[in-house]
């Protein structure tokens, strides 16, 4: 496993005061929190700074970490020294924040810090010893085509579970999830009973997955509607034509009305993301100019320049 430089993760010197550690963490957490920053890599960075803060904010853990010495480099192959953790008493503070800390963290502090306490007492409702489990939330990235056909996708989750000794440990869990046909970006899908286990025989909570689409090379998604850039020749736009256009369910022939301008949106009803009210597919016309790289092509452009009283800058005034 790799050594982690927790000071570097927070952009700090090893001599940083506890206040500086807190400030550095708060700034980075606001920047990379996955609810705030949807960019790729933000969530991984947030986990990294959370893990660093979990260790450095706790004077006991920080002292233990510092004791490893200064000679380690981030990414260096690491094994805990023999007798590690003897003489240290780590207070049982729970960390559900982010979840899924690194192997490096686990090897140093795992098993010592899992008492299953929570930051706040769970709300139990009416029945004191029976409580439905908490719901869990995660995100799932699917292809646009999965939304058209439905699909089964694997999701990997880190979830806290109670082990045989009553300690809470984070376990990796892989679920095969049916993606319902017609799901779209920003929607949530619910998996009944896949959240936290219930207490006293009460049902388990649910798992909510927020759906996001992988970027598609052809289509842009807006709600249930799809947009496609459709290149056309100037004469197809001017005179009208019937052109072949791809759709996620197979190509169709699209009629371009005569006198169409650049950027005109042509709607193909019902060819968007399927559902009770299926979305539409829009072809957005992109007029492509043929290059004037032959004598014949130049002649045609010269002929147009002579024959057409056309001022493309008429709208600019003066």
């Amino acid at each position: 496993m790799d050594y982690k430089d927790y000071y570097k993760a927070l952009g700090l010197e090893r001599t940083a005061a506890q206040d500086e550690i807190k400030t550095a963490f708060r700034k980075l957490a606001r920047k990379y929190h996955p609810d705030v920053n949807k960019e790729a890599g933000a969530e991984a960075r947030f986990k990294e700074v959370s893990e660093a803060y979990e260790v450095l904010s706790d004077p006991e853990k920080r002292a233990a970490y510092d004791q490893l010495g200064r000679d380690w480099q981030a990414g260096q192959e690491f094994r805990p020294p023999p007798g590690w953790s003897e003489g240290y008493e780590f207070s049982g503070r729970s960390f559900e924040r982010g979840g899924g800390f690194s192997d490096f963290f686990e090897s140093l502090f795992g098993g010592l810090d899992r008492r299953g306490e929570r930051g706040e007492p769970p709300f139990r409702g009416e029945a004191a010893f029976r409580a439905r489990g908490e719901d869990h939330h995660a995100r799932i990235l699917i292809g646009l085509r999965d939304a058209f056909t439905g699909a089964t996708r694997q999701v990997s989750l880190h979830a806290p579970q109670v082990d045989d000794t009553g300690h809470v440990v984070l376990r990796d869990r892989t679920l095969n999830v049916q993606i319902p046909k017609g799901v779209t970006e920003g929607q949530h899908i619910r998996l009944k009973g896949q959240g936290a286990p219930g207490i006293g025989g009460a049902p388990a909570g649910d798992l909510y997955l927020e759906v996001a689409f992988k970027p598609d090379p052809l289509y842009r998604v807006d709600g249930h509607d799809l947009y496609l850039h459709l290149p056309v020749a100037p004469w197809e736009a001017a005179l009208g034509a019937s052109v072949r256009m791809p759709t996620p369910t197979g190509p169709i022939m699209l009629r371009i009305p005569p006198g169409s301008a650049q950027g005109r949106k042509l709607r193909v009803r019902g060819r968007g993301i399927p559902g009770a009210e299926p979305g539409d597919l829009y072809g957005v016309l992109q007029v492509a100019l043929p290059p004037a790289d032959t004598e014949a092509a130049r002649k045609v452009y010269e002929e147009m320049a002579r024959a057409l009283p056309f001022d493309p800058r008429a709208g600019l005034g003066e």
Partner: protein, 110 residues
């Protein structure tokens, strides 16, 4: 732990119209009722009905409460801070959507 199987776990799309009670929201998100009531008071989530017993929330509100809880836990925000963050995130989403449609209209390939 891996649950393998060819069929896969059945899932359902969370519809806008599904309603849940105040108690269900608290249990779902494992949060204190007064804290959720504070979110309603701040206008950070919408409740239909006038008393706690009558309050009904959409499934979308439930997801918003879960997000609010993450913001509190991870960023140390208080209730007014959470309400502000949720509003700003909504506006950011709306601006991103508008930016995308403007790019579309200008015919950029982005």
């Amino acid at each position: 732990m891996t649950e393998q199987g060819s069929a896969g776990i059945a899932s359902e799309v969370v519809e806008q119209g599904t309603l849940c009670t105040f108690e269900e929201v608290c249990i779902s998100c494992n949060v204190n009722p007064d804290w959720v009531a504070g979110l309603v008071e701040q206008g950070a989530i919408d409740a239909v009905g006038s008393t706690r017993a009558e309050w009904r929330f959409t499934a979308v509100s439930l997801i918003r409460v879960a997000k609010a809880r993450r913001l509190e836990r991870d960023l140390g925000l208080n209730l007014p801070g959470i309400a502000l963050a949720l509003d700003l995130l909504d506006r950011l989403d709306a601006l991103h959507a508008r930016l995308r449609s403007l790019q579309e209209r200008r015919g950029s390939t982005g």
